[in-house]
C-alpha cells in the first residue's frame, strides 16, 4: 500500500462563468520515504496538487487515501489533526509569524498540539541545534537572513516529526547558494525517511529528486523515476 493514493482527482475553480480545471483526472501513488519533485509551467496545477495533498483543499471529485485512510471524507477538525501530526509545510515566503522569535515560531505546532512547555523547550532546543540556529533562537524573523528564515520554517515543519514534507518552491525567494543549502537540508531530512514532495521551477533542483513529475494543464504529463544510485 502506497503512503499517498490519489484516484481520479478533479479540482475545478469557478471563475465567474468559466470553470478552471486546475486538476483533471489525477492519478498518483507515492510511497513513504520517496523524494518527488513536481515541475511544469505556471498555472499547470502544481500548487493546487500540493494543497490537496496537504489537506488544505478538497477535490471536487475523486479519492485521496493517506496511509490507507480516505481523508477526503474527514471532517475539518479531523483533517486539521492529520495536518498537525502527519504533514509539514514549507512555503516559498517562509510564513513566519513576525512578532514571534525563531524559537516561538518553531514551537507553534507543539503549542497547537498541546505539548507541555517543558517538552516543548527540549524539542525546540534540539531543533535549533540540528538546524544550525542555536544562536538565533531569540531572534525575530526580521533579524534573520533568508536562509535562516527558511531553516526556521523547516524546523517548524519537522518539529512534529511528520510523515511527509510538502514544499512549494522552497528556494524561490533565496539566492542560488542559500537555495542549494536549503535543498540539501530537505534532502537530509528525506534521507532519514520523511517523504519529500517539492514543487519547483528550477530544473536543476527538480533533477535532484529520484522521481520527477511534470504537470501540464492540470494533468500529470510525465512521471519518471530515476533508479536509486
Amino acid at each position: 500500500m502506497a503512503q499517498i493514493e490519489l484516484d481520479n482527482i478533479q479540482r475545478i475553480f469557478q471563475l465567474g462563468d468559466s470553470e478552471v480545471h486546475a486538476l483533471q483526472d489525477v492519478q498518483l501513488r507515492i510511497d513513504a520515504g520517496e523524494y518527488v519533485s513536481v515541475m511544469g509551467p505556471s498555472g499547470s496545477g502544481k500548487s493546487t496538487l500540493l494543497n490537496l495533498l496537504g489537506l488544505l483543499d478538497r477535490p471536487n471529485d475523486g479519492h485521496y487515501r493517506l496511509e490507507g485512510r480516505d481523508v477526503t471524507t474527514l471532517s475539518a477538525d479531523e483533517q486539521a489533526r492529520v495536518r498537525r501530526e502527519r504533514i509539514g509545510f514549507v512555503f516559498q515566503s517562509f510564513h513566519l509569524v513576525p512578532r514571534l522569535t525563531a524559537e516561538e515560531n518553531i514551537a507553534l505546532p507543539l503549542l497547537l498540539a498541546g505539548i507541555s512547555p517543558h517538552d516543548r523547550k527540549a524539542r525546540v532546543a534540539q531543533a535549533l541545534d540540528d538546524f544550525g540556529l542555536a544562536k538565533r533562537g531569540d531572534h525575530r524573523p526580521d533579524q534573520l537572513s533568508g536562509g535562516q528564515r527558511q531553516r526556521v520554517a523547516i524546523a517548524r515543519a519537522t518539529i512534529m516529526q511528520p510523515a511527509m514534507l510538502l514544499a512549494d518552491e522552497p528556494t524561490g525567494n533565496l539566492d542560488r547558494a542559500t537555495g542549494e543549502e536549503v535543498t540539501t537540508l530537505l534532502e537530509t531530512l528525506n534521507g532519514r525517511g520523511v517523504t519529500l514532495i517539492v514543487v519547483t521551477h528550477d530544473p536543476h533542483m527538480g533533477e535532484r529528486a529520484q522521481r520527477q513529475i511534470r504537470m501540464e494543464d492540470g494533468r500529470i504529463d510525465s512521471d519518471s523515476k530515476r533508479p536509486a544510485p
Binding site: G54, D57, A76, D77, A80, R83, F91, H95, R99, L111
Partner: protein
C-alpha cells in the same frame, strides 16, 4: 488540543505586538467604563447628599406651608378662594392641641443686615421658638437657645451660627454682647455648634431670634412655615390629619395649607435622583456599545492584517475552534484590560470630584461598577465573536496566499 495557558499567552503576545491598535481599543473601553463609574458616582452622590440632608430634618417632622398645592387638577375648592389665608402664630399654638404632635415651632424667615463692632454681614434671620432647636437637633456650642416664653413677647435675644460667630467675634467672647439686626439690638445668648449641614439654610450662618421679634423686624404678621413634630414616625399620618383638621377649623373650613413630611420629600427626591442616575448610566452605557463596535472593527482589521498568519496556523493543524478561541481571547483580554483601566480612571475621577466638592459623597454605586464592567466585557466578547468566527472560516489556501 491547545492548552488554555498557551492560548492566553499567544493572545497576549498578539495584543502587545500591535500597541496602537490595542491602546485604541482599550481606550474606547476605558472611556466607556470610566463614564459609567464617574457619572453614576455623581448621580448617586447627589442622591445620597439630598437623602442625608433631608434625613437630618428628622423623620417625624411635618412642615406646614400656607397655600394648597393642587395635585389633582382644578378642584371645586379652588374656585372658592384664590388667596390662601396666612399662617399665624396662633395657628401654630393651636397645633399643640393635637394629641399626635409633641412639639411645634413657628418659623419666620428673612434676610437682614447684622452688625457688631463696625462689622456688617448680610445674613438669614430665623424667627422661631425654643422648640425649634429640639426639632432640628441643634446643638449649642456656647450659652443656651431661645428661652421658653410667651410666643407673642419676643425678648431681644439672639442665637448665632458658628461661622457667623467666628466672623463677627473672632476669638472674643460673644455671649452677652449686643448685636444689631436690622434696626434693633439683641443680646447674644447662645452660639450653635458648627454643623456644616443644612439644606438651603446653613445653620452655621444663621441668626435665630424669637418669632415675635422677627415678625416685628420684618413687619409681618404671617409665618413662613410651621414645623411640627409627631410623637414618632408611626404617628405622622395621624398627626397630619389632626393638623389639617385644626387648621381647617381655624380657616373657616378651608383646607388651604400644604403638609410636607420628610418621607414624601425624601421619597420623591430619591426617585427622581435614582432615575437620573440610571438614565445617566444608560447614556454612559451607550458609549460602551460604541466601544464594542470599535472592538469589532479593530478585530476585523486585525484579522485582515493577520490573514496569512491564520492560514499558517491552519496549515500547522489549528482547528477552526482554536482560531476562534485565540481571537476571542484576544478581544476579551483587551476588553477586560480596558474595562479595568476605565474602572481605575472612573474611581480617580470620582475621587477628584470628592476633593472638589467635599459635601458630595461621590462614590459609584456597586451596581454601576458591576454593570459597567459587565457590559464592557460582554460587549467586548460579543463584538469579538463575529470577527473570530470570520477568522475561523477563512479558507487556508486563500489565507496563505495573502501577504
Amino acid at each position: 488540543m491547545m492548552r488554555s495557558r498557551d492560548i492566553l499567552g499567544f493572545a497576549i503576545r498578539a495584543a502587545t505586538a500591535y500597541p496602537v491598535r490595542t491602546g485604541l481599543m482599550m481606550l474606547a473601553m476605558a472611556i466607556g467604563v470610566a463614564a459609567v463609574v464617574l457619572l453614576t458616582a455623581l448621580g448617586d452622590g447627589a442622591r445620597r447628599y439630598v437623602v442625608r440632608e433631608f434625613s437630618a430634618l428628622g423623620s417625624s417632622l411635618i412642615i406646614v406651608l400656607p397655600g394648597r398645592t393642587e395635585t389633582g387638577g382644578v378642584g371645586a375648592g379652588s374656585f372658592v378662594t384664590n388667596t390662601p389665608r396666612d399662617l399665624t402664630v396662633d395657628d401654630a399654638a393651636a397645633l399643640l392641641r393635637a394629641s399626635g404632635v409633641t412639639r411645634v415651632a413657628p418659623l419666620v424667615l428673612g434676610n437682614s443686615e447684622i452688625a457688631y463692632a463696625g462689622k456688617l454681614r448680610e445674613v438669614m434671620v430665623i424667627g422661631t421658638t425654643r422648640a425649634f432647636a429640639d426639632i432640628r437637633n441643634y446643638r449649642l456650642g456656647q450659652g443656651r437657645f431661645l428661652p421658653e416664653e410667651d410666643w407673642r413677647r419676643g425678648s431681644a435675644v439672639a442665637v448665632i451660627g458658628a461661622t457667623l460667630h467666628q466672623e463677627l467675634f473672632g476669638a472674643e467672647p460673644a455671649l452677652g454682647q449686643m448685636i444689631r439686626v436690622g434696626d434693633r439690638r439683641y443680646r447674644v445668648i447662645g452660639v450653635l455648634a458648627a454643623s456644616g449641614s443644612g439644606l438651603g439654610m446653613n445653620a452655621d450662618e444663621l441668626v435665630i431670634i424669637p418669632v415675635a421679634a422677627a415678625q416685628a423686624l420684618f413687619n409681618a404678621s404671617s409665618l413662613f412655615r410651621i414645623f411640627a413634630e409627631a410623637r414618632d414616625r408611626d404617628a405622622v399620618p395621624a398627626a397630619k390629619t389632626q393638623i389639617l383638621d385644626i387648621l381647617k377649623a381655624r380657616h373657616d373650613g378651608e383646607e388651604d395649607v400644604t403638609l410636607i413630611t420628610q418621607d414624601a420629600v425624601l421619597g420623591t427626591f430619591d426617585r427622581i435622583l435614582g432615575a437620573l442616575t440610571l438614565a445617566v448610566a444608560g447614556i454612559a452605557a451607550i458609549s460602551l456599545a460604541v466601544a464594542g463596535i470599535l472592538v469589532m472593527n479593530v478585530m476585523l482589521v486585525a484579522i485582515t492584517q493577520r490573514t496569512s498568519e491564520i492560514g499558517l496556523l491552519k496549515a500547522l493543524g489549528a482547528t477552526g475552534s482554536i482560531i476562534r478561541l485565540v481571537f476571542l481571547t484576544e478581544a476579551a483580554l483587551l476588553s477586560i484590560a480596558g474595562a479595568l483601566a476605565g474602572l481605575l480612571l472612573g474611581h480617580l475621577g470620582a475621587w477628584g470630584l470628592r476633593l472638589m466638592f467635599p459635601v458630595l459623597p461621590a462614590y459609584p454605586p456597586d451596581w454601576a461598577v458591576f454593570a459597567g464592567l459587565g457590559t464592557a466585557i460582554v460587549t467586548g466578547v460579543l463584538f469579538g465573536v463575529m470577527p473570530a468566527r470570520h477568522a475561523a472560516t477563512l479558507d487556508p489556501v486563500d489565507a496563505l496566499s495573502k501577504r
